[in-house]
């Protein structure tokens, strides 16, 4: 059977599974809709958290980023995973003890202020929509590449599936579909990785294969070979970093604090039965994530070797079949600048703008003709970073079912994250805005109806973003993490560990943290992109890392303002005492 037929079957089967879970896990109360009734086993929750957090970008793009940037790219791995330590040690157990439904709810109650709650809701909605736009687009892209349907059709199919299980099943439906999605995506990621590791080193464990010797008899290790190849062609040496230390530190810190402040990840820890389960569950979540994240560097290294070996100085007419296939989807482009019919792969952009603009015509060797202006670089190739994962099964000459598996895995990664984000948006709107702020008297049934309606509206908006992606999707990811770091994380942590931080301090801190971070990112990405370089950055910190400064400002302002204004009321201080003690968190599913 062809890879495409198999892809349809695999993706179709996985969808049937998700919808089946949705029907089985229909919910009838807000408690089930928001936190799955609070009775999720810590291992199950760990697995769901892993799927929730690993997005289409994790599955498709991170290996590519690492493959092209080598050691510099690793700061993303450290940052994203390190955030779970902060989450487990500083947030998860206390928020579980608090025992409510949403992140703005904690901020609103702890700072006894509707304003704080509303500011938190706005931050949450902004962060979540930023993130979700990319996910819906991701679903569409996967569909178009593997199943050859229109991107927009793919987005609509994705919306329909998420609609089924998020609107019907709420957090409960999402939890169990995420478990299924984790299994699909980890299997889909590991199989090609293991085969590639065997192909290059005979070692079946990719993590060890990366440090092993090549099996070609040269006596070189994988890393030595990579360094040799990259240096010869004039790229940065693979195992040597080039980013400044201060920027590396700032980016790692911003991603860590940002990860710990992502609302859709935090709420997953509201679903376990006990406080100690929240800690344990964070450990399992990170362990499940690390199965994939420690494999990513190996995939990156092997695919970089593969790419260089099968592309550089190879005549186009003799190139492997996958080059033409991915050229047809627009992820690879070649312009024979020196007219020798051979592909030269070198540092620098081959043309301007960077992404190829294809014409209908075919060139001398059958390659697709592009209409971009050429640069003076000797490089003739455009290679999209996503190809590193998507083309792996073909590069490693694996059977068609593995290609189908990767398609199903990528869709699973995108859908699981989209669903988690939709849920925090709908619960914040229904619970924090309607129930807790504007219409405190509505019944549980009515609130549940609002939550479902909000989910529907959120899906439609997310789909709209997926079909009409804002031109700046790539840059806005920096927003999501920067905003989570600068706005949500500091007030939550200070709210738990200090009894002195009060309403005025928290609100002032959030507003300063948020506005300074936003201003910095907007300035360098949109107002003055031409000076977006280390010389002009504040202390040499890039917009990706500026969330760290935003968080520090948030804390400083919150402390100073709180010192100048009265301490929180006695009930709030009692509440803080209460969330610090694990005993008595309650088993929520007993209602």
């Amino acid at each position: 059977m062809s890879a495409q037929t198999l892809s349809f079957i695999f993706v179709g089967l996985s969808f049937a599974l998700y919808i089946g879970i949705a029907i089985w896990s229909r919910v009838g109360s807000t408690k089930e809709f928001y936190v799955a009734g609070g009775g999720v086993h810590p291992v199950v929750n760990g697995m769901a958290t892993a799927a929730d957090w690993m997005s289409a970008a994790s599955f498709l793009s991170v290996a590519g980023i690492l493959a092209f940037t080598g050691r510099d790219g690793a700061v993303y791995l450290v940052g994203w995973t390190g955030g779970y330590v902060l989450l487990a040690l500083l947030l998860a157990p206390y928020l579980r003890k608090f025992g409510r439904f949403t992140v703005p709810e904690f901020i609103g109650d702890r700072y006894y202020s509707k304003l704080a709650r509303v500011v938190a809701v706005i931050c949450l909605i902004f962060i979540s929509f930023t993130y979700i736009a990319g996910q819906m687009r991701g679903v569409g892209i996967v569909f178009s590449r593997f199943l050859e349907v229109e991107i927009n059709t793919g987005v609509v199919i994705g919306m329909a599936i998420v609609f089924c299980y998020a609107v019907l099943g709420g957090m409960k439906g999402i939890t169990y579909t995420q478990v299924a999605q984790y299994c699909v995506l980890i299997f889909a990621f590991m199989v090609p990785a293991i085969f590639m590791s065997i192909m290059w080193t005979d070692n079946p464990i990719p993590q060890f294969g990366l440090g092993d010797k090549l099996n070609d008899g040269s006596g070189l290790s994988v890393l030595q070979k990579l360094d040799q190849v990259t240096t010869e062609l004039g790229f940065n040496t693979y195992t040597v970093g080039t980013r400044s230390t201060i920027d590396s530190l700032a980016i790692a810190a911003a991603l860590m604090i940002g990860t710990a402040g992502l609302p859709h990840v935090i709420v997953r820890f509201f679903t376990v039965p006990k406080v100690s389960d929240a800690r344990k569950s964070a450990g399992y979540a990170l362990a499940f994530i690390c199965i994939m994240y420690t494999t990513i560097p190996a995939v990156a290294a092997f695919s970089r070797l593969n790419l260089t070996e099968s592309v550089n100085e190879v005549a186009y007419s003799e190139a492997p079949a996958w080059i033409e296939k991915w050229e047809n989807t627009g992820l690879i482009a070649w312009k024979d600048k020196n007219g020798d019919g051979i592909m030269q792969y070198r540092p620098g952009h081959a043309f301007s703008p960077t992404k190829p603009i294809f014409t209908e015509a075919r060139g001398t060797y059958g390659e697709r003709v592009i209409s971009n202006e050429l640069t003076s670089s000797a490089n003739e190739m455009y290679v999209d970073r996503d190809i590193m994962v998507m083309a792996n099964p073909e590069i490693a000459q694996l059977p068609n079912w593995v290609i189908a598996l990767v398609a199903a895995g990528a869709v699973a990664a995108a859908l699981s994250t989209a669903a988690g984000l939709l849920l925090v948006i709908s619960s914040s709107v229904a619970h924090d805005l309607m129930k807790r702020t504007f219409m405190p008297d509505i019944s549980d049934k009515k609130e549940l109806l609002f939550a479902r309606l909000a989910a529907v509206v959120a899906i439609v908006i997310a789909g709209w973003f997926g079909i009409n992606p804002p031109a700046f999707v790539a840059q806005v990811v920096a927003f999501a993490f920067g905003m989570a770091a600068a706005s949500l994380f500091p007030p939550i942590v200070m709210g738990i560990f200090s009894k002195r931080i009060n309403r005025s301090g928290a609100v002032a801190g959030m507003l300063i943290g948020l506005s300074s971070t936003l201003a910095y990112i907007i300035y360098f990405n949109f107002i003055a992109p031409e000076i977006n370089n280390p010389e002009h950055w504040f202390l040499g910190i890039s917009p990706t890392g500026i969330g760290t400064i935003g968080a520090v400002l948030n804390v400083i302002v919150a402390v100073i303002v709180s010192r100048l204004t009265p301490a929180p009321p006695a009930q709030v201080q009692d509440m803080i005492d209460d969330i610090r003690i694990p005993a008595g968190a309650g088993v929520a599913h007993e209602h």
Binding site: G241, L249, R279, Y293, A583
Partner: protein, 139 residues
Amino acid sequence: MHQSADSKNKPENDGEIYHHDEAENLPPHSHHDEETLSEIDVQAYWRANIKVLVVLLSTWAFVSFGCGVLFSDWLDQFHIGGFPLGFWFTQQGTMLCFVAIIFIYHIWMKKIERAHGVDDDDDSVENNAANKTSTEAQS
């Protein structure tokens, strides 16, 4: 002292801004806190908790910012399983340490909580009962 579910439902001075009006959503904490926990135990527990956090977060910072960034290059002179050590930390090592830190935290805290009598081991039994009582009271 800890709030009981009842005191949370009373109107508060600040009531206009600080709502506690969803009786059915209140975490059923807990009569048993007040019966079994002394203030001294609670304070000792919190100090022990802070100590654990300081130790583990220092390790976390040392591994991620230290081994992962600051002296990563210096560590490259050593080798582990074919990797330069600093490079290994950036690609795999830090992540493995993070997982270890969280599980150590879990086990360590469990021990401290049992010692101070604030653990949640018996929560399922205790609160099923508490929950039932509060549901009955409402209806």
